[in-house]
C-alpha cells in the first residue's frame, strides 16, 4: 500500500494522507484531479470496487467534503478519496463513466445535499423525497426538529431532557461535583 501511495504521490500532489487502520487509508485531493486519480486507481491499481460515495457538510468552513470509498480485491484494502468543494458553488464532476452505479449516489447527494452533478444520468429524479419544498434536508442548516414540530401534530405529554443536566440532577445529586465516573477533559 505504501508503494501505491508513493506511486500516486509521484503523479499528483496529495494534500493530506492518513492511515486509519491496516486496511483503511484516506487521502485528500484537489477537485480538478479527481477524475484522473479515480480512473488511475481503477484502471492501474485495481481499486475496482466502489463501496460508496458520500458527502459531508462542513458548514463552518463553507465546504462540502465528498468521499469516494474504493476497495481493492487483490490486496484487500479500502481507500477513501476525499475532495473538498465549495459550498456556495456546489458542483462536482459525474463519475458515471467509471462506475455505472454511481448515478444513484449522485442522485441521492443531489437531492439530500443539493450538490449538482452535470451530466449524471437521472440526477433530477426524486429519490426519497416527494414534493419537498425546503432546502435539501441533509445540509447542516436545516433543523429537522423545528420542521417536525411545525409540520406534524405533536401528541402532548412528551418531554425531552438534556441528558447531561438530567443525569446530574437525578443520579449525581448526592455527591454533587465528584462523580466516580472518570470524565474527559
Amino acid at each position: 500500500m505504501e508503494q501505491i501511495l508513493n506511486r500516486i504521490k509521484d503523479k499528483i500532489e496529495i494534500k493530506i494522507s492518513t492511515k486509519k487502520r491496516d486496511d483503511l487509508y484516506f487521502f485528500t485531493v484537489e477537485k480538478e484531479q479527481i477524475e484522473f486519480i479515480l480512473s488511475y486507481l481503477k484502471e492501474q491499481e485495481n481499486f475496482t470496487h466502489l463501496a460508496f460515495m458520500q458527502a459531508v457538510d462542513y458548514l463552518e468552513d463553507g465546504k462540502f467534503q465528498l468521499t469516494y470509498m474504493l476497495y481493492n480485491y487483490k490486496i484487500h484494502i479500502n481507500l477513501g478519496v476525499n475532495v473538498l468543494i465549495d459550498r456556495k458553488k456546489a458542483e462536482m464532476f459525474s463519475m458515471h463513466k467509471l462506475w455505472p452505479h454511481i448515478w444513484q449516489y449522485q442522485r441521492e447527494i443531489h437531492e439530500l445535499f443539493g450538490i449538482n452533478f452535470p451530466g449524471s444520468p437521472r440526477v433530477n429524479e426524486s429519490f426519497v423525497l416527494e414534493g419537498w419544498e425546503e432546502i435539501p434536508p441533509m445540509r447542516r442548516d436545516f433543523d429537522t426538529l423545528e420542521y417536525s414540530e411545525k409540520t406534524f401534530y405533536q401528541r402532548p405529554g412528551r418531554s425531552t431532557n438534556d441528558p447531561k443536566e438530567y443525569m446530574k440532577e437525578k443520579m449525581y445529586k448526592n455527591y454533587a461535583d465528584t462523580p466516580t465516573i472518570r470524565r474527559e477533559k
Partner: protein
Amino acid sequence: MNRMSENKYKGFEADRSKYPEMKDGKPVIDLESHKYTKIWQGPQHPGVTGNMALELIIDGDEVVDTKTRVGYLHRAFEKLMERRRYIQCFPIVCRICVPEPDTNEYCVSAAMEDLSGIVVPEKAQWLRTLNLEMSRVGSFLMWLGGQAGSIGMGAIGQWTVGMRDFWLDLFEEMTGGRVYHMYMIPGGVRKDLPDGFKDRARDLIIRTRKLLVNIENTFFNNIIVKSRLKGLGIITPEMVDEYGIVGPNARASGRECDIRINNPYVKYGELDIKMITSNGCDAYARAELRYQELLQSLDLVSQILDKIPEKGEIQAKLPNVLHWKIPAGQTYVKAESTRGEHGFYMVSDGSEFPRRVFARGASYTHAISLLEKLAVNISISDTAALMVSLHTCPPEIER
C-alpha cells in the same frame, strides 16, 4: 424454460430488437400506443420485499422497462444522528435493517471504538461474533422462506420463519430483545450469556439442521423450482465491479469477496471458515449458495460456542458516555451481513455529536441499478423471485 442456460454470458444482453425505437441505448416507449401498460408493483403488493415499488412497463406478460422507486421508509437516520449524542445514536441504528439489525449495531459501535481508540476485551469480541453469526442465521432463514414464497411455495416460508422464531428466542435470552437487540454497545457487550445457553443453542442447531435437510429435499431438489430459478437474473462476472455487487450475489458469480475472510473483524480470524463461491451466476445458484452459507453459519455458531472463554471482561472502560467527545477523524467500518458488505462511514469533528454518519447497505446497488438492469425481458411472474433472489432490503437503501 432455461432460456439463458446455454451460452450463458453471451445471451445476457437484453434482446431489444422487438422494440419500435431505440434512442441513446434506451427504448422509447409510447404509452399512448396501447401496446404497453404501466404497472406499479408496490408499495402495496405482496410480491415486493418490504415497502418499495417497481414501476414496470409491460408488453403482454413481458417486462420491458423497470424503475425502482424507494423512499417509503425514509426516516432520516443520518440527520437524526447528527443531533444525538454518540451513545444516543446507538439504539436507533439497529432500526436501519429489520431482519438483521446486529450488523448495524456492530458497525456503529466499532466505528466509535475505532475513532476513540478503545480496545474491546477478548470475551466481548467472542460474544459479538456469536451475536453477528446468529443474526446471519436468522436472516438467511427468513430469506429462504421469502425465496420459496416468491414462487408460490408457502410451506417453506412457514417452516423457516417458524424456526427463525426459536432463534429469536435465543436472542431474547441473550440480549433481552426479540428483534432489536441493542447488545453490542460501544466498548463491549451488555450482558454475559445466561446459564445453559450453550446447550440450548446446540440443541437448536441440531433442530435447524434437521429442518434444512427437509428443505433441501422439497425445495432445492424440486424440478419446478429448478425450472423457474435457473437462468433467471444472470449476473456476469464483469458486472460485479460495474455495479458494485457484493456478498452472496457476487460470490455466486465467482468473485471471492467475503469480508469475514478478506478483512477479518472481531474473532472471525480465529474460526475455521471457508470461502464459498459458485459459478452458476443465476438465481438458483444464489439460492444454493445462501443455503450453503446458512449451513456454514450454523457450523460457525457451534465453533464459537466451543471457543467462548468462560471468564473475562465484557466491557471496556468508557468515559462518561453522556459527555463522550470523540476526537476528530473519519473512519469506515464494514461487516459482512447476509446481503453483503454493510458499512458505516463516520466522521467526527471532536464534539459530542457525530458530524456525519452514513450507512452503506448492500441493497443500495442491488435493488436499484442491478435490479433495473436484470428485470428487463423477463416475465412479470418472475419479478418477485428476482427481487428476492437479490435479497433486497428496502430500509437500508433509504435509511
